[in-house]
Subunit: 168 residues, 2 copies
């Protein structure tokens, strides 16, 4: 019988269990059992449970952040930037549904100072969205509206999409 667990398998199983039971409720022994290895062996793949969360969270958060940065620095008109933003959200959510689930459900369990860094990253992201919306209002392409509320509306669509994808 082949042993040898790959790092990719370890990550996939971790993400699946985090989504099913939540980060806090998932123990290293849960993950190990699913991989048919001992709990101690997990530390060949990762430094700590917290480092695992950190890596997964910033991996997907950075993809969102970088994607939106590229859109913002483009020469698109505001409305086209908005379309590109929705496209980015759909694409990332479809490609990384479990990462997005972790992002939405378990970012609170990041420990300081990384938690603050994460929140700052998210606030920058929201700020970029709001700026695009405000620019669209100023050019007249968007009817006057509360940019803050519109930002929430756009961002909450991410949550909705991943919920349908993962089927909760």
């Amino acid at each position: 019988m082949e042993r040898k667990t790959t790092r990719a398998q370890f990550i996939a199983v971790s993400l699946k269990l985090f989504q099913q039971k939540g980060f806090k409720a998932t123990t290293m022994r849960d993950i190990a059992q699913e991989l048919n290895i001992e709990a101690a062996t997990i530390y060949n793949y990762i430094k700590s449970k917290q480092a695992l969360l950190d890596g997964l969270l910033f991996e997907i958060a950075n993809r969102f952040h970088e994607g939106l940065s590229n859109i913002e620095s483009s020469s698109y008109a505001p409305v086209d930037k908005l379309k590109a933003l929705v496209n980015l959200n759909v694409r990332l959510t479809v490609e990384y549904p479990y990462h997005v689930a972790l992002l939405v459900n378990d970012w609170k369990h990041l420990e300081e100072p990384r938690r603050s860094a994460f929140v700052k990253n998210r606030e920058e992201y929201e700020g970029m969205v709001r700026q695009i919306i405000q620019a669209g209002i100023k050019t007249g392409a968007l009817r006057p509206m509360d940019a803050e509320i519109a930002t929430y509306a756009v961002l909450s669509s991410i949550r909705w999409l991943f919920l349908s994808l993962i089927h909760i």
Copy 2:
């Protein structure tokens, strides 16, 4: 110095901490510390941590369920039932934001067999919403659409509202 913690205080503190840290990450000692009592004293107010979660979850879930049952058995037209449903959601979310937060974030931590009962309750709720939408389509009051997706759209609005209320 007055001692004496009321049960209402205990519930309020528990809900606040569950929202801030999540159910699993909140320990009985966290709650006790916030109330300036010993952890053991908590068991004068509740039988177990699981029973606390159970009580809070079904309290709010039943309010949603009963509210929608009343709407469904009314003689309103489908579109007016839909309006009453949105009204119900807004009202309960504004009145019980922390209960709703717990409902959205921590229902997974209910243990069997109560977890299954909870999921069944939610599926009935979703089924009632879907039926109202389907009735509205049949009478022509609503344009033809995918009732399942429309149901998700209505229900996801709950999440969005409580997120704004609690400010995450």
